[in-house]
């Protein structure tokens, strides 16, 4: 279970104070594939960063399982991200000077794991995600979709409980995006991982089992997508935005 209890967070931009989250409370059951949706500036990426222990809330609590993410020290947060969490960004996921395989193995190198195990695990993941043929290529030689799959493989190296994806298809074409959403759903199922995807696209959210809608820093609605296609999700999402 991923829980957020009355989480607030603000930033100072220039001489302006921006309240990104205004008391967000939510519970995400695990495992599964979930989306956090909102318009640009709604606070969804901020929430994701807090869940990833990349930042600390001004107030409130965040738990992933029984781990109080909001209280982790920097060292604890680092180890948490290394072994128990996976993160995929919209772009610049991969280290440009490393090959695809080296990128996947990177968390294992950082953890000082046995090289043989790391190699075997990376082969298994890259095969599963269909990028094993590109193992020795650098990111600049990979397509956008291939890069994101490599990023997902890296995120799954230690079989984390949670995989957070921040607009992972933002730079991809629709065909590649569809494939990636399908892939994330399959990962959630086959690896028993909770995948939480931040997106502003209804088509992406339609692949998820639930959608948490954030507006102006507050959690407003939870949309159950069962039986809804992309158009249906889009319509429900618009209703949520209009109603608030």
């Amino acid at each position: 279970m991923i829980r957020c209890l009355d989480v607030t967070k603000s930033y100072t931009v220039g001489d302006r104070k921006v309240q990104a989250l205004r008391g967000v409370t939510l519970e995400i059951p695990t495992p599964g594939f979930f989306a956090i949706m909102g318009q640009s500036g709604s606070g969804k990426s901020t929430l994701l960063h807090l869940l990833a222990a990349l930042d600390r809330p001004d107030s409130g609590e965040l738990f992933i399982g029984d781990k109080p993410v909001h209280q982790l020290t920097d060292k604890q947060a680092t180890l948490f991200r290394r072994r128990e969490l996976g993160i995929v960004f919209q772009q610049f996921n991969l280290i440009p000077t490393l090959t695809a395989r080296e990128n996947v193995e990177l968390p294992g190198v950082l953890a000082g794991e046995d090289a043989k195990w790391v190699a075997e695990r990376s082969t298994e993941l890259m095969t599963d995600l269909g990028v094993i043929d590109r193992a020795h290529h650098r990111p600049e030689a990979l397509s956008g979709g291939e890069q994101q799959r490599v990023a997902i493989a890296r995120a799954l190296l230690f079989s984390p409980r949670v995989l957070l994806a921040d607009e992972p298809t933002g730079n991809l074409d629709s065909a590649s995006s569809q494939k990636l959403w399908g892939l994330l759903g399959r990962v959630a199922q086959s690896h028993e991982t909770t995948v939480v995807m931040v997106t502003h696209e209804p088509a992406a959210a339609a692949h998820c089992q639930s959608i948490f809608v954030i507006r102006d820093g507050r959690m407003t609605t939870i949309i159950n997508t069962e039986g809804l296609d992309a158009a249906g999700v889009a319509a429900r999402y618009q209703e949520c935005l209009s109603a608030s």
């Binding site: 930042d55 290394r82 960004f89 610049f92 950082l110």
Partner: protein, 926 residues
């Protein structure tokens, strides 16, 4: 630590070109330091060899005070029986004239003066002369204590035999006489082994100049030749040359070696020696032995440890070591700054990458460690490549200058360690700031938008800190007064110099910002760039550009400083010296020599005899490092002031002469006033052979350059007793108080209507029988000193250019990094229609701004450093010089900076021009 290593190695191998550039800068710094260390060690080892030859291995010596007195030989047997004495021996030294008549080929002199000789070379006879310092030992132990390196033949065993060194042999050679300069120092002795070859027959005439020269080169004193001792009022004595020895390392006067009986016969003296030398038993304290035997010897003899003689040398060696350490630290700091700038740029480029690493579980420590390890890799790699190259350079220099540096290549462990460890430390130090930034960077910060502008506040803070450092340097050197030279020196070493260096380096940031603000517009117009692009591009990263300009400025600053100070030294100190027209010098010149000079009225207007006695004083130098003596120049005041042109700073001539004739009074050179505040009415204190003396100061004058003449003749040996400046007193005082009456120099005013060459030749010819060492022209000597200083300035300029070359690699790295960072930006420019040439001109425009900033900073730093140098000269050595930055060397330095900076930027710029827009835009991938 393993993950940090793997991250570091991966980063280095992924950016080979850039890391290679940084590594090359570090390697070059290491090479420079190693080369200087080896060169200094070789020079010091050569000095050490000279010490053995000149001063010997003895622990204690016994001599008679003053040069004319001698030690009774019978004392040697007594000394040998002293407790604690392992070995005792004695030697007799004297200077006397040698001559040889040799055939030579010479062209007929033209009828008109000034025309070049023409026609065939005809056989003629020449008399070749020299007055070497001849040494004789009483037993074999004498040669053991002062080894002599034989080139050919053997040491003499009979009274009518002599071995001469290569310098003496060259002075007794026909060619050397032809090449002999007016200053009388003589030629550099190359290929000394040729003196072992017998002379070849001389035909009546030859046509070819080269044939004449070849034959003349084989004429004169050789192994087996007979030379004569020719003196006034004494029959000539024939001596057979049985050996040719090596010239003492680092020069010195001509030398010869005879048996004790032989020298005694020449001097018409027996049972007397110049010095008894003692080697003590292991474990015996020489100082204690000296104290215990002083009373036994009485006042007529002087016993002292030779440490008193060599301590000056060791102090001088120590001071050169300090100079080397300081120069090395500055060189390594420079390398550190280059690495800092390079790795900082690398950090900026990799911010997002580092943020992603943090996001996926890399700890701050791991990333910081990887940065430090990159610095370590650069340092180790730089040392591994640079130190052997530096040793190689030193080996080449030692081979080329093997005559001047006879010790050959020396590889000092301390110097190699300094270079190696220093380089590694420079690498790690340079990586420290980027490592710190890595620790402080939060992952979210790194993931944020790539372009973050530097606030003006950071630049202002940089300016304030830099200004404070430079002000500290300025106040430190300005506020010190006379008598505070010691504090100034150490304060400068530990505070002033680091403040200067760090201050100007930091000032690079605001300076580059300002220069860009002013010059970017005109440069943009000149290079056909859109307005503001160039300015904004540099202002976006002022620290990167500023620190790179800072790294580039160091070499120019060195060049400006040495030429400003060196030029001022030549102009204001040496240039103002009024050297005598001519002079003769010798170890002990008889009064008859002076009388003879006075009789040569067809050449001589006036003359005065001088005693030159080095006395110990604490007036000059850094006491912890160097002990400079000063010259007590003794003369007849009436004659002296008649012919010498001195300027009175305090006092006047009539009063000074009156007081000096009363006794116990001296005139001091103005350097005493400048350095110590000693002037009219003060007391001058000095020590001579262990006894303190005091004199009233009755005047302060500018120096007539006499002390330089004395040093010039003793060149190569002065390091045993370096004397600075002079005090002037009477010969009566020198005789009564110091016990010295020997004439060393006769200063001569020539007639206006005679040429220097004719006068010097006549003086040599006529005075040779009186035992002169040599005669020379004051003008020629001054010219030679000026040439020597110019040569030294050129050598240092070479080092400055090397420093700029090192910085070039930093510039190249910056340009490459800048291009990588802005690949996408360049791709967008190309995509919207910019030609490749625009990108080239933009990057070159940035390089021009770096060069301009570096040139301005380097000039200012050089001038400030030269100002500090003038203060140090004034307070440590009393030398007053005015700052006038020389335009030509500065412009040359600017030229080097611009050329090297643009040359460093060209290769990456050319590569950029060839890249297609799609390739540049692909920078966003990954």
């Amino acid at each position: 630590m393993r993950p940090a290593w793997r991250l570091a190695i991966r980063n280095v191998s992924a950016r080979r070109r850039r890391m290679g550039l940084l590594g090359a800068a570090v390697a070059l710094s290491a090479a420079l330091i190693a080369a200087i260390a080896c060169a200094m060690a070789a020079v010091n080892a050569s000095i050490g060899m000279q010490l053995e030859t000149v001063v010997g291995k003895a622990d204690i010596r016994i001599a008679a005070p003053g040069r004319t007195a001698q030690v009774p030989l019978e004392l040697l047997e007594t000394v040998k029986n002293w407790q604690g004495v392992r070995l005792a021996t004695a030697h007799l030294e004297a200077e006397f004239p040698l001559a040889i008549d040799a055939p030579a080929l010479q062209q007929a002199r033209p009828a008109s003066r000034g025309d070049t000789p023409t026609g065939p070379f005809m056989r003629t006879e020449r008399t070749l002369r020299v007055a070497p310092l001849v040494r004789a030992v009483v037993d074999q132990a004498g040669w053991d204590l002062r080894p002599v390196q034989m080139l050919a033949g053997r040491l003499p065993t009979q009274p009518d035999e002599i071995a001469i060194d290569a310098f003496t042999a060259s002075r007794l050679s026909v060619l050397a006489q032809e090449d002999l300069a007016l200053n009388g120092i003589g030629v550099v002795v190359g290929d000394p082994e040729r003196f072992a070859l017998a002379p070849i027959p001389v035909p009546e005439s030859v046509e070819s100049p080269s044939e004449a020269r070849r034959i003349n080169d084989r004429q004169g004193a050789r192994l087996g030749s007979v030379v004569q001792v020719r003196r006034v009022l004494a029959p000539p004595i024939d001596l057979t040359i049985v050996g040719i020895t090596a010239r003492p390392p680092l020069g010195g006067r001509p030398r010869g070696f005879m048996t004790f009986e032989g020298v005694s016969r020449v001097l018409n003296r027996s049972g007397q020696v110049t010095e008894i030398e003692i080697l003590v038993e292991p474990g015996v304290d020489p100082v204690a032995l000296v104290e215990s035997r002083k009373a036994q010897l009485g006042e007529g003899l002087l016993i002292q440890t030779t440490a008193r003689v060599t301590s000056g040398v060791e102090n001088n060696l120590r001071s050169t070591q300090l100079a080397f350490i300081l120069a090395s630290i500055l060189g390594l700091l420079s390398a550190s700054f280059i690495i800092l700038t390079g790795l900082n740029t690398d950090f900026a480029e990799r911010r997002r990458e580092l943020a992603v690493l943090r996001c996926i579980g890399a700890s701050k420590t791991q990333l910081a460690q990887s940065q430090l390890l990159i610095g370590l890799i650069l340092g180790v790699g730089g040392a591994a490549i640079g130190v052997p190259i530096g040793v190689g350079i030193a080996a080449v220099i030692s081979a080329i200058f093997h005559a001047e540096i006879p010790s050959g290549l020396q590889v000092p462990l301390s110097g190699v360690l300094m270079s190696t460890i220093g380089t590694i430390a420079a690498g790690v130090l340079g990586a420290a700031w980027p490592a710190w930034r890595t620790i402080r960077m939060s992952p979210l910060e790194g993931l944020a938008a790539r372009a973050t502008s530097i606030g003006g506040r950071a630049i202002v803070i940089c300016f304030i800190v830099a200004f404070a450092l430079l002000l500290t340097h300025y106040l430190l050197v300005t506020l010190a007064g006379p008598g505070q030279g010691q504090y100034l020196f150490w304060g400068y070493v530990f505070i002033g110099l680091p403040c200067l260096f760090a201050g100007y380096f930091l000032m690079g940031v605001p300076a580059t910002w300002l220069v860009t603000r002013v010059a970017a517009g005109p440069i943009s117009k000149l290079m056909g760039l859109p307005p503001s692009v160039l300015r904004r591009s540099v202002h976006a990263t002022p620290f990167r550009f500023g620190f790179t300009a800072g790294a580039m400025m160091a070499g120019l600053a060195l060049m400006v400083a040495i030429w400003t100070e060196g030029g001022a030294f030549l102009r204001d100190w040496l240039g103002k010296m009024q050297f005598p027209d001519a002079f003769v010098s010798g170890l002990i010149l008889p009064q008859e020599a002076q009388d003879k000079v006075d009789s040569m009225t067809e050449y001589v207007e006036n003359s005065v005899a001088l005693s030159v006695i080095p006395v110990e004083t604490d007036a000059f130098g850094v006491r912890a490092l160097q002990r400079y003596q000063t010259n007590f120049i003794a003369f007849d005041p009436d004659r002296f002031f008649t012919m010498m042109d001195v300027t009175w700073v305090q006092g006047d001539e009539p009063h000074a002469i009156e007081e000096m004739n009363k006794g116990g009074a001296v005139i001091v050179a103005r350097e005493f006033l400048t350095a110590q505040g000693l002037g009219m009415g003060d007391t001058f204190k000095c020590r001579f052979e262990g006894v303190e003396h005091q004199f009233r100061i009755v005047g302060v004058v500018t120096s007539p350059g006499l002390e330089l003449i004395s040093r010039f003749f003793n060149i190569g040996e002065e390091f045993t007793a370096q004397a600075m400046h002079a005090v002037f007193g009477t010969r009566a005082d020198a005789r009564e108080k110091l016990g010295v009456d020997a004439i060393r120099v006769i200063s001569i005013d020539l007639r206006e209507d005679v040429s220097d060459a004719d006068a010097i030749a006549a003086l040599r010819r006529e005075l040779f029988p009186y035992g002169i060492a040599d005669a020379g022209s004051g003008r020629a000597m001054k010219h030679d000193i000026v040439e020597f200083v110019h040569g030294t300035l050129l050598v240092f300029s070479g080092i400055a250019v090397m420093a700029m070359l090192v910085a070039c690699f930093g510039v190249a790295n910056l340009v490459v990094a800048g291009i990588e960072l802005r690949r996408f930006e360049f791709g967008v420019l190309r995509a919207v229609g910019a030609m490749p040439g625009l990108l080239v001109r933009l990057v070159l425009g940035e390089a021009l701004l770096i060069a301009l900033s570096a040139s301005i900073l380097g000039t200012l730093m050089g001038i400030q450093a030269a100002y500090a140098g003038t203060r140090l000269h004034a307070l440590l050595f009393g030398i007053l010089i005015n700052l006038e930055p020389p335009v030509v060397p500065i412009l040359a330095g600017w030229g080097f900076v611009f050329v090297l900076t643009l040359a460093a930027a060209l290769p990456p710029v050319r590569r950029l021009a060839k890249r297609q827009p799609r390739e540049l835009l692909a920078a966003m991938r990954g």
